[in-house]
Symmetry: C2
Subunit: 252 residues, 2 copies
């Protein structure tokens, strides 16, 4: 590596570090390319020379963490069905470790998020889930009479949609976790074998109970803020989905 290249990669690192700082400090509101350049001690043109665009910079932030996530996932020791649910747990744990940061990065990236975003974030995850599901099938815990690609796509899409919904403030982290578990268990229960059926159904029931508990407590805290007018009550009754969303908006 020539000295030019080191100073270039140094600058890249500076910019990514500055982006992290800004994102963590006060969200994507404070994250303009001009403030980023200032924070990194660099001119406004440099980030464009080195990264090309704002979303590339944000993608660089995500990529590092996602690599950590996958590495940790490789070290799990459990039966092949449990690993699937642990993958969910780890995703939630990753997000919970620094929620504002991830929320800001993910929603910022997916706002502009062209195909690049999908390709870099969703793509690798699809490969990962496909592998996990194949391993479960090989262990005779999932039936093999359903197209593995189709199944993996469905599952991955569900996970991804949930994370995105969380990032956009439509779900609490807890509800995201519960939805992912429920959706996963539901899908799995459609192709579970005799060996794994009970295990999967138990997972499904527990995720279901978790969701119900979350809804009840969201509703309760909504009631504490004051009585419901009729319109709000109707919305809540029909659209429990939005309970979290609304309390989130009001607290913002």
């Amino acid at each position: 590596m020539t000295s030019w290249e080191t100073s270039k990669s140094q600058r890249r690192d500076d910019i990514v570090a500055a982006a992290r700082t800004l994102m963590r400090r006060s969200g994507d509101a404070a994250f303009s390319m001009r403030t980023l350049a200032e924070e990194a001690g660099v001119s406004i043109a440099t980030p464009y020379n080195l990264f090309g665009s704002k979303q590339s910079i944000l993608l660089a932030l995500l990529s590092a963490d996602l690599a950590d996530y996958e590495a940790a996932l490789a070290n799990l020791h459990a039966d092949e069905i449990e690993v699937l649910f642990q993958a969910v747990s780890m995703m939630t744990a990753t997000l919970r470790a620094d929620p504002e940061f991830y929320r800001n990065v993910m929603s910022a990236v997916s706002r502009d998020g062209g195909p690049e975003f999908r390709f870099m974030v969703s793509g690798p995850r699809y490969v990962l889930w496909k592998r996990l599901l194949r391993e479960a099938t090989e262990a005779d815990l999932l039936r093999s009479d359903v197209d593995p690609d189709a199944f993996a796509i469905t599952v991955t899409q569900q996970m991804f949609a949930n994370v995105q919904n969380w990032a956009q403030g439509q779900l609490s982290l807890d509800e995201m976790d519960a939805r992912m578990r429920f959706g996963l268990a539901l899908s799995l229960s459609a192709i579970a074998t005799r060996t794994s059926r009970d295990q999967v159904l138990a997972r499904q029931k527990s995720a279901e109970a978790l969701m119900q508990r979350i809804w009840r407590s969201a509703l309760a805290s909504r009631l504490e803020q004051g009585p419901l007018d009729d319109e709000t009550r109707a919305v809540l009754a029909d659209q429990l989905v939005h309970v979290e969303n609304q309390s989130l908006k009001e607290s913002a």
Copy 2:
């Protein structure tokens, strides 16, 4: 309605019509608030006075068509499981009637798409699906031992994610349709009753075959463009998901 109010609603209509024209003419690239104002023969400030923001205008475009969709859905006569799949067909048909328009509007709206978007587009659809699923349950075509809210959320989320993926250019309309059918059938098969099990499984198999056919033809057309280098081949092998996406990008 006073004469002021008629001229106001006239202006609203002009603006929405101009937005339709611009969207259909050349996509969201041509859709700036300044060109919109010009097209509508109105000052830049007026759209803000009447609608408040760009996304409100786009939402107004979507809302009318979604209302049509739901109205048409109310007139279906089929057994309660078939209606679910017909709802998918009708969604696809709606989008196919004017793909560029819907793609542009949806991706533009969901790009800026704050919670408003979700609330107005996804919310009513959730209510709709929940009703359809309840009717199927009451007809003893779905088991009732799974929380209907949780189930409806999962299904709606899947449908919505698929439409969004299509709007963002990651899926062909055909693949979106196939994915929706497959995901729906898979979820239903987890809670199908003895009466409906065969029907649902047949749907699942046919959607699966549909997806495979789409992948094969996408791969074939990709091969016609020239031989695959190793890297591309690896991506395609592991990530069939992106076949459509890539050919879409290249043809753009």
